[in-house]
Symmetry: C2
Subunit: 255 residues, 2 copies
């Protein structure tokens, strides 16, 4: 999955025309409409993610991004929790201000190659030593698409630890309602006024709909044809790519 | 978990006295009673396992052991399936007679350190390329105990692949009823005549009870005090170790 596909979008309609595959988010941002980027990216810090997107030509700033790691840090501080981190090195800096000594919970994120048996076992052992094991999972995506093929996301590893310990994880990120709520609050927009655009039928489309938003699925990235007959989630619309989604929003806004 | 603890026992009562922690299985085997060793061991071939047990002084032969890998091979042959194997090198020889070219299913076992991200991702990709993904899991244990601490078993990784692919695995091994059935058939004993002794409240005790057997849990190995208040499974009895279980069986048989 390209970074552009991985970073999904919350918008509330648009005006103007001429959206193209490149620059679509710029078109939205130049409109009267509010746009926010909701990502479950948990391998990079927001700073690194935004830097990469800017180099790719995207007009995005760190303050426009809702991401799981900062949201998790807020929860950890509020609840006085000290995490054992099973996360990718690229996102570790987001936790710099968090006390990780003598851990009383575990935070897992899309750790990629760091999901070794040894690291999984360590996280498991930390949880089993706690009287009340608390596990946070930054998202619960099943997989994502790289140029080399489909790749396991954090969700399967969350399920593994849930089963091993007999517990249920707290998900921070899409499709958690709390995550959509915080994104909308940051925009100052109500759920029924907002449209989610994403490639994940469950994480993006289902999650947004459960919070009262409408949602379009793009037929790019992790999209699979069977998503259009998903047993539990039906998107409000399907579009071939982000440009088509923006065109639709603009047509709608101009009616 | 020691090998002695990991290899659980099916028996149908006993006579004689004087069972001790060492030699308990010999006492059972010298009685009029039939004894079978039911293991979910899937890191070693039966030959290696029995060799190790014999060196430790156990009087066990390969033909007395019911184990998941040979059971899986039978199923693969019957159904014309060619597996992609995600298994420990130690058990790979059990699959020597199985065609693994152009795989149309996946078999996972307790692969230990081989549960790397790369290997899990490969198994996931094989499954996702199949029209009807078939996943076999040799057991579904949550964890086991080594001298270094609790270790993740195959079950969590089975759950990970189930979630990633949206499928349900076929379990070969305890607590699958088919597995207990084949062990009892090999003994020529009915379920109501047999007693299972094991350290796993779900895999040993719950599985045997669901097949109509009685079951004792030993307070060794992976036993945890909370097992005695398990929400779903209640053992027919708890014993401090195998020797106490054998004593109980002998007392019962002599009444």
């Amino acid at each position: 999955m390209s970074e552009g596909e991985r970073l999904n979008r919350c918008g509330n309609g648009s005006r103007g025309r001429g959206a193209r595959p490149r620059g679509t988010s710029d078109v939205l941002k130049r409109s009267r409409l509010k746009v926010r980027f909701c990502t479950n990216e948990s391998q990079k810090s927001r700073a690194d993610l935004v830097g990469l997107l800017q180099r790719l030509g995207f007009d995005v700033s760190e303050s426009e991004v809702t991401a799981p790691a900062p949201a998790a840090c807020l929860i950890l501080k509020q609840r006085g929790l000290r995490p054992h981190l099973l996360v990718h090195d690229g996102v570790r800096s987001e936790f710099d201000q968090i006390d990780t000594s003598n851990p009383n919970c575990v935070v897992i994120a899309d750790a990629g190659e760091d999901f070794s048996y040894q690291n999984m076992n360590k996280a498991f052992q930390v949880l089993m030593e706690l009287e009340n094991p608390v596990l946070f999972s930054l998202g619960k995506g099943r997989y994502y698409k790289e140029t080399s093929g489909l790749m396991l996301d954090v969700g399967p590893y969350m399920k593994a630890l849930e089963y091993a310990c007999g517990i249920e994880a707290e998900v921070v990120g899409k499709p958690s309602p709390e995550f959509f709520k915080s994104a909308l609050q940051e925009m100052g927009v109500e759920a029924h006024e907002a449209i989610m655009i994403g490639d994940d039928i469950v994480g993006d489309v289902g999650g947004a709909q459960r919070y009262g938003m409408r949602a379009l699925q793009v037929r790019t990235g992790k999209f699979r044809p069977s998503d259009e007959h998903h047993p539990e989630v039906k998107a409000d619309g399907y579009v071939d790519n982000l440009a088509e989604a923006v065109d639709l929003l603009l047509q709608h806004a101009n009616k």
